[in-house]
Subunit: 359 residues, 2 copies
């Protein structure tokens, strides 16, 4: 078992990574009282909820099964969690455990942040994407018809348990979507890691356990370091959004859930690279390298059929990373180094969109 610590003073917490950590005795060390609200969904619950419940046999565990999919990630979609907690008369010392992918983690985390103004919670992410990204850093929330993750809270868990055993039941498309975020970490901050991913991609695709644990731990460590510096995204944390402004536009255009988040991010990484090339910071060969890596990871590298440059501009205008109407993009100074650009050259952006949408 590897452990990565997220250093946030009073809100610091560990991420446990490895095979079988979901039932590790450390799980009960992080419970506040005797009550547990186990929030999962209809795909993950049948596979793993019983395993977690067995590890919690000395506790009162109430299970809430959310419908599966990003389409249910709404404010109203939180009600089953609150209904269950209140029906079971759970107090402020109950602990909420999120067992599932990013959608379950985001929703359950925001429910934990809001239930009685905040109860402790634990993340057991069951997709690669949530293990390397969304379960770490305390971003929780739900979507609004006009934008993704527009309603939520910064709320840190007590602990994260990233169990690599669960990845064996992950559909190949979801594995690829997780690899998009892994590639993102290499691109945004660690060229050596990017080379490592390139070399280890076959082992990652084959779910080789030690290689996978190493990848997850490295991503979590990078994210933990950035979050520790800038918990509420007033500065550097925005770098983690590399590929996301374009990606969110794709998700919004397609309707949430049509594309997997990681798939949209992969196209966003390619578009960010292309934009950086337009600004003279990346070579065309480097853009090709990003495209090649994403393609080999089983990811799309072009926006969906029929999505236009105008569609991108419309959706990007309401993205959260805009400060008072200004479009903020995360771009690449070079492979392995991202930066925040608040005043991108409109001509370069327009060209990027045109080329990408016609590509």
């Amino acid at each position: 078992m590897k452990t990565v610590q997220v250093a946030l003073e009073a809100r610091s917490y560990p991420i446990y990574i490895g095979a079988g950590v979901m039932t590790h005795p450390a799980l009960t060390d992080h419970l506040a009282g005797r009550d547990v609200l186990l929030v999962t969904n209809g795909s993950v619950g049948p596979l793993y909820a019983a395993r977690v419940e067995t590890a919690l046999s000395d506790y009162r565990v109430i299970q809430v099964t959310l419908p599966d999919g990003e389409a249910y990630k709404t404010l109203e979609g939180l009600m089953p969690i609150f209904d269950a907690a209140l029906s079971a008369r759970m107090g402020r010392r109950a602990t909420l455990i999120a067992l599932g992918g990013g959608v379950v983690g985001d929703m359950a985390g925001f429910a934990a942040a809001s239930y009685q103004r905040g109860i402790p919670f634990i993340q057991i992410p069951t997709t690669l994407l949530s293990q390397v990204d969304s379960s770490v850093g305390g971003k929780t929330g739900v979507n609004h018809p006009l934008g993704k993750n527009m309603i939520g809270a910064f709320y840190q868990p007590q602990a994260v348990f990233a169990d690599t055993d669960v990845l064996s039941t992950l559909p190949p498309r979801e594995l690829s979507a997780g690899l998009a975020e892994v590639i993102k970490y290499g691109l945004l901050g660690d060229l050596e890691f990017l080379h490592w991913i390139d070399a280890q991609l076959p082992a990652l695709m084959a779910l080789e356990p030690t290689v996978m644990s190493e990848a997850i731990a490295r991503c979590c460590a990078m994210k933990a370091a950035i979050v520790a510096e800038d918990e509420r995204e007033s500065g550097r944390r925005a770098l983690l959004n590399l590929g996301h402004t374009f990606g969110h536009a794709i998700e919004a255009h397609q309707g949430y859930g049509a594309w997997l988040h990681g798939e949209a991010v992969a196209v966003g990484l390619v578009m960010a690279a292309r934009c950086s090339a337009g600004l003279g910071d990346l070579t065309e060969a480097e853009v090709a390298k990003v495209i090649d890596l994403c393609a080999r990871a089983g990811l799309p590298t072009q926006p969906p059929q029929g999505m236009t440059a105008t569609d991108f501009m419309t959706h990007m205008a309401v993205d959260k990373k805009n400060l008072d109407g200004q479009l903020r993009l995360i771009l690449l100074r070079c492979l392995g180094e991202a930066y925040i650009e608040d005043a991108v050259d409109p001509a370069v952006l327009a060209h990027t969109l045109e080329v990408s949408c016609c590509g």
Copy 2:
């Protein structure tokens, strides 16, 4: 103008109290960007929104008018705020101003806490109750069918503007409801203040400006001191719930909005006093004093017709102040000193409920 400071380190903020403070130049000092979301309701908006908008003529102000009443204080009821903010493409530097009573403040505060995971907000409370209590201390949230304020956040405003001018348009019932909270402060922590309220009650009922400002400032100062010690209600802050466990049961039983919050709290204060007398801490004469003070302030002193001891027990069992199923009450050691009781003698509680419900 009086100013009371709430000392919460990085989240410290001032409360400005006095006639006309709603349009004081200090208002714009607390705005983050150029965008303002002014959240009000159908009763308060027509009276005061234009006044605030004039003071903000250099800003882009979008007004959201919520339906008036506690019945709309739900998770779904927040959607008009999010809809307006996103339709106007407001970013993270927009400031939300809550113009209204406790319901508007609680809802708008939670919307500010949740919109894009938190934007700055300012409270302009327009009822006595919200000026002395709910606008101070950062408790925000909405109701759930199974309990009051069960979904929310601790989220501090940038500033509070308690304008005594607005009290002149307050219905007498709402003025009385506010006085219930004023009496609560005297009872829970300051016998000298309780005597002052007793003596000044006619002046308070007549809205005598200097007396009213003094009362508001003293309540805010007491609340600020308690909140500074215990922001997230892990200890002493619970004292502010004197009368509230009984009061919430009344509100839940009646359906939110039938009784004003302060009216229910007044009965709760009487019941807490009666329970304390049952435990030997207060004399019957002191209970009579509490009843007399509430009655003279125009407040009810008995639970609603037909509400039984069993009704109380049912509703109190889900009150937030219960830790893992244990009933927590705030009781009086003597007039002017409250304490937290986690193990009240069931016989004394039963007697209190019987006497109160048959009274």
